[in-house]
Symmetry: C2
Subunit: 328 residues, 2 copies
C-alpha cells in the first residue's frame, strides 16, 4: 500500500478494500457494502493474524481489549479504525496513537439515550423508587415524602456531546447544571472548579472519557467534598471511579446515594461486593443502548465507510493522544 | 350568624372566628393565626359535634371521608371549607354542593411534584429500571436494550394545573403530549377524542378529578384500545380506574406496563392482588408529597385565611357541582 494513509483505494486497484470486523455477531446494515468491500470477521484469537491484511477495522465488540493487545505486533496496520462506542480507551495504545491510522468513534448515537438514562436515575433516586419497589415486594403501604428535582443543582463532568445532552435534559427538568470539561470555555468550567462545584451539587454525574488524567478522579477525597444529601451517577467508564471509596462513602452515609452503570471490571461478577452496597443502583452498562441501537451503529459506520470510499474527510475523528473527539 | 356567608366576621364581633381542623396532627404554619382565630381540632368521632360551631373548616386529613358523612346532619355549617388536597371527592356531598359554603382546594402545591413523579415512572418503565433492581438483587449482570422516551406520544387525561404540569414536563423530555379535558379548548382535546388518542399513545396518564363522569373511565374497553407496547399511569384517583380490568390487561399483555399511585381502597391492604400484578408498579399515594409539602400546604391555607379575614375574594374556589376548580 503506497497510497496516502487516509485516502481511499484508487479506482484502478481491482482488489476491494478489506474490512475486518472484530465481533461475535455480524453488524446490521453492512449488507449495503456488498460488492464494495471484502468483509472478514475476527475474534480475539484470530485478530493478530488478520490485522495485517485489513484496510479498515471495525471494532464492533466494544467490550474487547484485543486491539490494544494485538496492535503493537508485526506487519502492516489498517489505515482506519472505527469503534462502535463513544469511548476509545479499550483500543488505544501508544503505537496506535503514534501511527497515521485514523480512529473514529460512534459520537452522536448514545447522547440522547444516555441523557434520558441519567434523568431516569436522578428522578428514581429523588422519588425513592427503589424503596417503593422493595416495599411493594413486601406488600407494605408506607407513605414517604420524596424530593423535588426542580431547583436542585447538578455537576456534570465531561463536556462532550454526552455531557451536553445530560446538561440539556437535566436542565429541562429544572435542574441547574454545571458542565466541567478539560478546558474552560463557553458554558464549560475548568477542572480547577470541579471541587467547588461538587461540594455544592445535589447530583454529580460522571460522563468523562477515560484518559490518564481522568482515571480514578472520583476518589475518597472527592466523595468527601460532596454533601451528605447528594448523589453520584457514573455512566462514563468504571475506571473513573475508585469503587471502594464510593462504597465506603455510601456505607458511612457520606453521600445519600449512587448509581453505577459502568465498572472497573465488566461484567460485574456475582461475588462483587458492589451488588449490595446500601443506596447503590447497579446496572449492566446499558445506559446508551436503546432498542435499535445496533442498527444505528451499523448505519453510522456504513455512512462513514461511504465517505472514506469517496475520499471525503471523516467526522468523529478521535484525537488519539487526548483519547476523545475534540469539542466544538 | 347573620353575616353574608362568604364575608369575614365583622370587626365589632368580639369573638374570634372558630377554625376547626380535621386531622390527627396540627398543621404547620397555623401559629401565624394566633390571636386571630380560635383553633380547635376534630377527629372523625368529634367532627359531628364540633361542626355547627365552626366558621371555617380545614380538612387537613385529606384521606378522611368524615366531612361527607357528617355534613348532611343537623345544625349550622361552616361558611368556608378548605381541603389540603387537589381533589375534593372525599368531602363533597349534595348538601354541601347545594349550600352557600365556599370550598377551596390546594391547587398549585402538587403540580410540579406530581409532574416529576410521572416523569420518574415513565423513564423508569422505559429504561426497565424495576427489572434492573430485581437483577441487582439476584447479583445478575444481564444487559438489555431499553427504550427512548423522546419521540414517543403521551395522552394525559385531566387538563387542570396538574395535567398541564405533566404535559410540560413530558414535553421537556421530547414526548409529544395531548391533553384531554372536560371540554375542548386551546390545547385541550374533548372527551370524544380520548379513545383515538389512547389508541395511539405510548403513555396514558390519568390526572383527572374524580366526578360522576370520570368514575371508572379507564375500563376493560379503554385498556383494550391501547397498544400492547403502551403503558398506563394513574396519579389522579383510584376510582378512575377499574382495577380488575387493568390487572387483566397486564396479565394478558394487552398493555406493556402500568404504575398506580392511587387506589380504590387506600391504604392498599396486604392481601390485595394488585401488589403482585406483573408489570405493575404500586406506590402509596405519594406522587405529590415532596419534602416540605406539609409546610407548603400550611402556608397556602394561612394565606387564604388572611384573604378571607380581610374580606377579599379567595383563589382556588371549587365549582362544587363539577368537583374541581374550573380552568382558565
Amino acid at each position: 500500500m503506497t497510497t496516502a494513509l487516509t485516502s481511499p483505494p484508487s479506482p484502478d486497484v481491482a482488489e476491494k478494500p478489506m474490512l475486518l470486523v472484530l465481533g461475535a455477531e455480524p453488524p446490521p446494515r453492512l449488507g449495503r457494502l456488498t460488492g464494495r468491500a471484502r468483509i472478514e470477521y475476527a475474534d480475539e484469537s484470530t485478530l493478530a493474524a488478520l490485522l495485517p491484511s485489513a484496510d479498515v477495522l471495525l471494532v464492533w465488540d466494544f467490550g474487547s481489549h484485543a486491539v490494544r493487545r494485538v496492535w503493537p505486533g508485526a506487519g502492516p496496520r489498517p489505515r482506519w479504525v472505527h469503534t462502535a462506542s463513544a469511548g476509545v480507551d479499550h483500543l488505544m495504545c501508544p503505537e496506535l496513537a503514534e501511527s497515521d491510522t485514523l480512529v473514529t468513534n460512534a459520537r452522536g448515537v448514545f447522547d440522547q439515550p444516555i441523557a434520558e438514562y441519567v434523568a431516569a436515575l436522578v428522578l428514581a433516586m429523588a422519588k425513592d423508587l427503589p424503596r417503593t419497589l422493595e416495599l411493594q415486594g413486601a406488600r407494605e403501604w408506607r407513605h414517604r415524602a420524596s424530593q423535588r428535582v426542580a431547583g436542585t443543582r447538578a455537576c456534570v463532568v465531561g463536556s462532550g456531546p454526552i455531557g451536553r445532552a445530560i446538561e440539556h435534559t437535566l436542565g429541562a427538568l429544572g435542574i441547574t447544571t454545571a458542565l466541567v470539561g478539560r478546558t474552560a470555555r463557553d458554558g464549560v468550567h475548568a477542572p480547577e472548579e470541579l471541587d467547588r462545584l461538587m461540594a455544592r451539587a445535589d447530583w454529580v454525574v460522571s460522563a468523562a472519557p477515560l484518559t490518564e488524567e481522568t482515571r480514578g478522579m472520583f476518589d475518597a477525597r472527592r466523595f468527601g467534598l460532596m454533601q451528605p444529601s447528594a448523589r453520584f451517577v457514573n455512566i462514563g467508564r468504571g475506571q473513573l471511579v475508585v469503587e471502594d471509596a464510593l462504597a465506603k462513602a455510601l456505607k458511612e452515609r457520606g453521600i445519600a446515594g449512587a448509581a453505577l452503570d459502568v465498572f472497573e471490571h465488566e461484567p460485574l461478577g456475582p461475588d462483587s461486593p458492589l451488588w449490595e452496597v446500601p443506596g447503590l443502583i447497579v446496572s449492566p452498562h446499558m445506559s446508551g443502548d436503546t432498542v435499535g441501537w445496533r442498527d444505528e451503529l451499523g448505519t453510522q459506520f456504513v455512512e462513514l465507510y461511504e465517505l472514506w470510499e469517496a475520499g471525503s474527510p471523516l467526522p468523529n475523528v478521535v484525537d488519539k493522544r487526548r483519547g476523545y473527539v475534540p469539542g466544538h
